[in-house]
Amino acid sequence: MPAPLMSPAGGPPALWDPIIRLSHWALAIVVLVNAVLTRGGSALHVWVGWIGLGVLALRLIWGLVGTREARFSSFPPQPLAALRHLGELARGTPRQYGSHNPAGAMMVYALWGAMAVVMATGLVMTGGKTPVQVSQTQSVIESGDWTTLAIDDESGDDDSETDAGGKQGGLAHLAEELHEVAANLILFLAFLHVAGVFVESRVMRKNLTAAMLTGRSDNRGA
């Protein structure tokens, strides 16, 4: 197949490294699966959440030691610069950045923050149990042995009015609320993120989605 007619500047630069792309799509899938497909509290939900935790941890490590565009120092959180970028975007004259643009950077941190909250509260809700333990507990309960439940309920949400029980119940309840709110926040942010990518791709005449899939951004214009 013929190559597109000689691009004057040679090929496009390599943009997103494999870890960035992998973590991006893995987290997107984790969010979608746990928001839509799995039942909250199910072993599968917990499994997927822990996988998300691992992927996010890897991305954060990569933010310290990774490639230039992956490092936090390449996209520091700058709210004012983010607003300026949105203004430039509205006027159709956005600048190019070597990593996430300032608005994108704020989105990245917001999404990571919301994910961290969801994961942390999820851990509180499951008592920090690993998915293996959660699966075990649930299969034991399904087999008809409810004694584990009774032990669990010390930290559970029944309203036994002992002082410690009340406090822990309150914490569990708070965690549950936060889990729900932060999860919805992720979905809202993800929607904004997709809209932003769409607008930016249009204005900059760049296929940003392809760049995140293959690591390259082809200039469609020039």
Binding site: P2, L5, G11, P18, V55, L58, T67, T130
Partner: protein
């Protein structure tokens, strides 16, 4: 035909390192979870100490793996940049030779497309010209270059590249 970056040892290593890193991180997260679970459940024990050491080793391995991957990716990018330069250099050589043969701008375009491996029909389509026109242009190009046909025309430039490289395949 687009020149693909070859699958070099570095590229393979990069893919393997990414896979390892992902598996290691997932394993580490589950291990850390297990350590904390044990700590809450049973307190400090010999078993826990060993487990914590294993986890620590895993975390360190992840750090080193990540740094190693960064280096590999940097090497890959340097190679790709070098390849771009080589491509650009070849383009300049071809351009200069076309000039020396006195090709017209239209003939230069057709010649370049022919070198890229497009056949007459494809060149005609790309340029929005009749196939007969393209055929005539190619004939003129071959006669100006003093070559017998397309194969010799392409070989003219490949020969330059191979001049020093006949002795051996480069070791990956």
């Amino acid at each position: 035909m687009p020149v693909r970056a070859p699958i070099t040892a570095e590229r393979r290593q990069g893919i393997i390192l990414v896979a390892f890193l992902v598996i290691q991180t997932l394993a580490a997260v589950f291990y850390i979870g297990d350590v904390f679970g044990d700590l809450a459940g049973h307190g400090v024990s010999a078993h826990l100490v060993v487990e914590a050491l294993v986890t620590l080793a895993l975390v360190l391995a992840i750090g080193f793996g990540a740094i190693r991957l960064r280096r590999t990716l940097d090497v890959l990018r340097a190679q790709e940049a070098a390849l771009e330069v080589a491509r650009g250099a070849l383009g300049e050589v071809i351009d200069g030779q076309f000039g020396a043969w006195g090709l017209t701008p239209a003939e230069r375009d057709v010649g370049m497309l022919a070198l890229k491996g497009l056949d007459v029909a494809e060149i005609a389509e790309v340029r929005g010209a009749a196939q007969g026109t393209v055929r005539a242009q190619l004939t003129r190009i071959y006669s100006k270059a003093g070559v017998s046909g397309r194969a010799q025309f392409a070989a003219f430039f490949v020969e330059d590249l191979m001049g020093a490289g006949l002795h051996a395949k480069p070791a990956e």
